[in-house]
């Protein structure tokens, strides 16, 4: 893992943010052109997101974040926008794996305490999230060790390139 302490600003979204909202199917023609595709990240949830987001910022959702299709382009374009971690109350299963496989940390915590525009400081190793704006301190649920190992190598493909095999 490149960095274990992350700092940035919150972009808050609601519940049930689907992969169609993250990167709509109508842009499927751009899927082999990730830089162009990334210009439409979260467009249907917040058309202005792509202009506001700064490197290191956080995408914060409610429950069932990333529901829907298996398109790994969803976490990929979030990563390409510069977002350093995704936080949500709960995350859809396939999206969770895809984000980790793309090397994007996902923290499951009570995001109801976090507001749009807040500054956060996240300690990935300890799993703690400090909201520097309102003083709230949250802890995130534990990931299975295999996911921690994949995240530590920056994603699944880098992991396999380094280890040559998948082991528990």
């Amino acid at each position: 893992m490149a960095r274990t302490i992350l700092k940035g600003k919150v972009h808050k979204f609601g519940d049930d943010i689907s992969t169609d909202l993250i990167i709509p199917g109508r842009y499927a023609r751009l899927r082999s052109n990730p830089p162009e595709l990334a210009k439409h990240v979260l467009e249907d949830a917040d058309p202005n997101f792509v202009n506001k987001v700064k490197p290191g910022d956080f995408v914060v959702g409610g429950s069932n974040f990333g529901q829907g299709s298996s398109r790994e382009h969803a976490p990929l374009v979030i990563k390409m926008s510069g977002v350093s971690a995704i936080l949500a109350k709960s995350v859809a299963r396939i999206f969770f794996r895809n984000a980790i496989n793309q090397g994007v940390p996902v923290l499951i915590c009570d995001t109801g305490k976090i507001n749009d525009g807040d500054e956060l400081e996240i300690d990935l190793l300890a799993g703690t999230i400090k909201d520097l704006t309102n003083g709230a301190v949250l802890t995130s649920g534990k990931m299975p060790q295999v996911m921690v190992n994949i995240l530590n190598e920056g994603g699944l493909i880098p992991y396999i390139k380094k280890h040559g095999d998948l082991k528990l």
Partner: protein
């Protein structure tokens, strides 16, 4: 303590005594991609430094989502996929052969298999007793390369279905009812296991519809035990030798048991923009629609087209509605032609689209205009799903869809049958 179907399947393929909550590495019997997730998957595969899949014959590429291609970029993606198949010996299913999940059911999935696909509706294969689940590109790439992947053994909800479906009510109404009851993330990370006398009586086609939508409750798999219905289906597909009996143990441990009696079930509809936003068709009477879409991996099979043809026979669709029909596979199209359903549907004013995903995902063949509403037999009604975030998608059964095509508004099929 006995085992659930999920525990049994993953125990057998991992060689470990898999229990809910365990993480295991399991053999993958079949891995596939489709044309919108395939290019990234195969690039990840190459980036991982693998020359060829460990077993090319159990890897497949399906051209179904944007097929025939609506634009130059996706035509080029198709070229890339064809070239990869040619170079590696992976199986290739061309434009017009049908939706990946339907072809997997017809030609590959069997009880006991572990199947992963770069498409969330890979869960469809659970109807045949396969541990079939969707994953992203990186995961499918390494499964193709190594013939295995890691799995968290899911806890299981047992869904016990009793009773008999009333006239014009069916499995789509059942699964919409269940999702409305437990919520779009009500079974997140879990296995749904369907059993009971009503399940025993279901055809494979009906089981496929239910398994297909397990993911709309967040589930990792939607599993059915195998039985004589499964055996007969596999035999009819020329794969009888692949049959094995697969049942959960009677003392298996379930996280939850949900009982549903279908005797009084009514036609259900999911309203925009989430699948758990359900109402009865009767409650939505009067809701105008401009398009009806019958097809997809959820409801594009012969039985579905038969139901639509039965309702539309000798009648005309409403003049304000575009009625789009896409058979789920070429085999379905041929069977529907032989049975006369296609002629009936065309005479009623339907447009027959190529076998494939068609209008389902908003890339072609039926994108909605601003403010328009579509009643679809698909599995997802998310905002923007059919290509326009300013449109509205209602989900329902083929019977409700056909009845609504006649009236131009959401209609309880019991009114016309």
């Amino acid at each position: 303590m006995g085992k659930t179907l999920a525990e049994k399947l993953l125990s057998a393929k991992s060689g470990a005594g898999a229990r809910a909550g365990d993480i295991v590495i399991s053999k993958v019997d079949f891995a596939f991609v489709q044309d919108t997730t395939g290019p990234l998957t195969l690039r990840q595969f190459r980036e991982g430094g693998f020359p060829k899949p460990s077993s090319p014959k159990t890897c497949a590429i399906f051209m179904d989502h944007a097929a025939p291609s609506p634009n130059r970029e996706q035509a080029n993606d198709h070229l890339f996929l064809r070239k990869f198949a040619e170079e590696t010996g992976c199986q290739l299913f061309e434009v017009g052969q049908g939706v990946c999940h339907q072809i997997v059911a017809e030609q590959f999935a069997c009880p006991g298999d572990v199947i992963i696909g770069a498409d969330s509706h890979t869960v469809t294969g659970g109807a045949l007793g396969a541990f079939a689940t969707g994953m992203g590109s990186s995961d499918v790439a390494i499964a193709m390369a190594l013939g295995k992947n890691w799995f968290r053994v899911p806890e299981t909800f047992s869904i016990n279905v009793t009773g008999r479906f009333p006239k014009a009510v069916g499995v789509k109404d059942l699964i919409l009812y269940l999702i409305g009851k437990i919520g779009a993330d009500g079974a997140n990370y879990k296995a749904l296991e369907f059993t009971g006398p009503a399940v025993d009586r279901m055809t494979v086609s009906q089981r496929l519809t239910i398994a297909n939508m397990a993911v709309e409750a967040g589930a990792k798999v939607g599993l059915f035990p195998s039985d004589e219905v499964t055996r007969a289906y596999l035999e009819a597909q020329g794969r009888g030798a692949k049959y094995q009996l697969l049942q959960p143990d009677t003392d298996a441990a379930y996280e939850k048991v949900i009982e549903i009696n279908v005797d009084r079930l009514v036609p259900m509809v999911a309203k925009p923009h989430t699948v758990d936003n359900t109402a009865t068709a009767a409650e939505l009477k009067g809701t105008r629609i401009q398009q009806v879409f019958i097809g997809t991996c959820t409801n594009g099979r012969l039985e579905d087209l038969a139901m639509a043809a039965r309702i539309l026979k000798g009648k005309q669709k409403h003049h304000g509605v575009r009625l789009l029909i896409a058979p789920a596979s070429h085999a379905v199209l041929e069977a529907a032609l032989r049975a006369g359903y296609i002629r009936t549907l065309i005479r009623a004013g339907a447009i027959i689209l190529p076998a494939g995903c068609a209008a389902c995902l908003g890339v072609h063949q039926g994108v909605l205009g601003d403010g328009e509403a579509c009643l679809s037999t698909a599995n997802r009604n998310f905002k923007g799903r059919m290509g326009n975030p300013d449109s509205f998608i209602y989900l329902a059964s083929p019977a409700t869809a056909a009845a609504s095509a006649l009236t131009g508004e959401i209609t309880d099929p019991r009114e016309v049958l």
